[in-house]
Symmetry: C2
Subunit: 395 residues, 2 copies
């Protein structure tokens, strides 16, 4: 009987444990033993794997169901770059168990690491069967039209925008501008999700700022001023990182925060883009701007899980184990089409980032997302109960 | 037949419209007409009331049910101080309709305004019947052991703490400190709610900072350092405003933000206490600190409503209309006991703020909330599904 190693990489999502649960469910009875690597591939030398075999038993179905609904990443995750020393330690621990199957659940970085592992094993003439299950709240993984994790994080953004706009309308005699900052260092998929529950022009969001579209501060301030005059309130949704017209990070010189091992500012640990814009609007326009900065909460809140995303994550876990049986050489990853049809591709095709396509930009408005995005992506956030719109209290 | 005026005051909550829905439900058939004042008492002269009578009809039960689940405040709210000119305008609009019943839904400020209205009407020999329904996410309203709105905002804080701690555990090879900033300018009831789903000592929160207990920065840094050494991560929950040992606002000199009409810094519009602490911890201890600052989101998110709070809010709306029939003189407000039993008191007893009682402080730990708080308050946030704790991944 074969033995399976599994790990989770990159930032957790609300449903990454659902994918793990799906893997554990499918592992029985094909695999006699299942081991989990702790904190991804980078800590194998110092942290022993944990034995997950009991969790694969038919009698553990209740535990797997509960695990699937638990946020975080059960096995722990990591963010450091994988080195040859890490890969060597992984081979050692797998060979010590006589295992040749390994499954990673993660995004771009994890697919890259799986690819490195495949090349490293081949260079050592070690026969490994390597597969990857997609995961990312950013939705920028090539091959996954909707990556598990995105739907739930997007649901949080869409609900936060819709729900808080009702609060904002009620307080518009007091507040002028609301800025909701979303996750997403490189791509605008999550900020774009703020339009998914918008029903009327006057509904939030009124401005959506994404890193794919450089932001001219003067044009932004002009638009804020006009919208405030017309609507009495302005609801802005912004990525945590934006691009200035010269290609640098917007407001970079005023964002004070720790730097990572490469000397880059870690924006999510600084006071951030939303606060930068709030101060800019206050100082330039004299409008009171309130920044909501939930940070990574939206990838963890159990109360905002999209049931469509949850089912997709569970199904992705089961389907990824099927990829072990494919005859083709090389590391493989599960792919997900827009209609949620599952397929596969070499993991090396999952390296890189898919930006929000220009086709989803509003062509007539540099600060808006096109309605075609809502048509395409609405279903991934699941069902929501309608609210009461009988009496609009807009002035 | 009598006519009823109703309004909503102060910050919205996730369930203030449930209370309004309860009022509208109970208004039929006692009141022939119901009017809503827009944006509280301060905008009556410039904004005509809206006719809510159709919403009281038995046939409008579906609309009332949907309204009850809608965030924000349907009638709009406000935050400015009430003047004699405002009160005079309220009398004018009520007398024009031949109405003498008015019901306000709000917190300390609203109870104060209702009391002012009663005194003003008496000084003009106008006979008014004035009642108030309690509402506040801060839970500091005298007479309401649990004010409608608190349970849902507290559920958000408790879920955010529990759920994000799973994420934080998974990433503790990368992150050192998480700081969740909660609402609450004056009292610590919401930050204290972070302990309501804590099951084990190692679970978040590890430190809870409230304005009732002055914070010594050196002692705090020492504790953070010790906890990080012992647990590998530190989860801090802090009020949006804290008190320094000398009685001033902690970090006041570094918080840059707009000031209100009285010249006071509006902390919720500045970069805030959580970011101040994150920078302090980074600069003094070299630990990466991430600030989650959802701001007012927790009082609006439909997905975090406590069903216990929702039912209480609905019931409070219905019961407050019963207070019109009491024979005693003067403005009256609904009271709510710890067992959710409803009663009444003069509105003037609802002015002021109830701090978190010292009995709920952990007597042995200046940075912790006592377990007796969880015993007392756990039920108000409603039921939650258990998560999977089978394998703790703490290092």
């Amino acid at each position: 009987m074969e033995k399976l190693f599994v790990f989770q990489g990159g930032g957790p999502t609300a449903v990454i444990n659902a994918t793990l649960s799906g893997v554990l469910d499918a592992a029985h009875p094909c695999f006699s033993n299942v081991f989990g690597l702790r904190h991804s591939l980078e800590h194998v030398a110092t942290t022993p794997p944990i034995n997950l075999t009991d969790l694969t038993a038919p009698s553990a179905a209740d535990d797997r169901a509960r695990l699937a609904r638990t946020p975080g990443a059960l096995l722990g995750s990591s963010r450091t770059k994988v080195t040859e020393a890490h890969l060597s330690a992984v081979l050692d621990v797998m060979q010590a168990e006589g295992a040749r199957h390994i499954l990673g659940i993660g995004g771009n970085g994890t697919m890259h690491a799986l690819n490195q592992l495949a090349e490293f094993a081949a260079s050592r003439s070690v026969d490994l069967n390597i597969v990857g299950a997609p995961k990312t709240v950013d939705n920028d993984l090539p091959g996954a039209a909707f990556a598990p994790g995105y739907g739930s994080a997007a649901r949080f953004v869409a609900l936060a925008t819709r729900d808080f706009d009702f609060d904002f309308r009620a307080m518009q005699t007091f507040d002028d501008v609301t800025i909701l900052e979303t996750m997403g260092r490189d791509t605008g998929w999550l900020a774009a999700a703020s339009v998914l529950l918008k029903e009327a022009d006057a509904d939030a969001p009124h401005i959506v700022l994404i890193p794919e579209r450089p932001v001219d501060e003067a044009a932004l301030l002009k638009r804020v001023s006009e919208l405030h005059r017309d609507l009495g309130r302005v609801f802005i949704v912004t990525n945590e990182v934006l691009t200035a017209p010269d290609g640098t990070v917007l407001g970079q010189n005023v964002q004070d925060g720790p730097t990572d091992s490469l000397g880059r500012t870690m924006y999510s640990l600084s006071t951030g883009t939303g606060n930068y814009l709030a101060q800019l609007i206050w100082k330039q326009l004299g409008l009171q701007a309130r920044c909501l900065r939930p940070g990574s909460l939206g990838r963890a809140l159990t109360s905002c899980v999209s049931e469509v995303d949850f089912e997709l994550a569970l199904r992705a876990g089961r389907a990824t184990t099927d990829l072990f049986d494919r005859p083709e050489d090389g590391a493989k990853m599960l792919t997900i089409a827009q209609d949620l049809h599952l397929g596969w591709q070499p993991t090396k095709e999952g390296i890189g980032r898919t930006p929000l396509p220009k086709a989803f930009f509003d062509q007539d408005d540099e600060f808006a997302i096109g309605l075609n995005f809502a048509t395409m992506a609405r279903s991934i956030i699941g069902e929501v109960s309608p609210l009461f719109h009988g009496i609009r209290t807009d002035s």
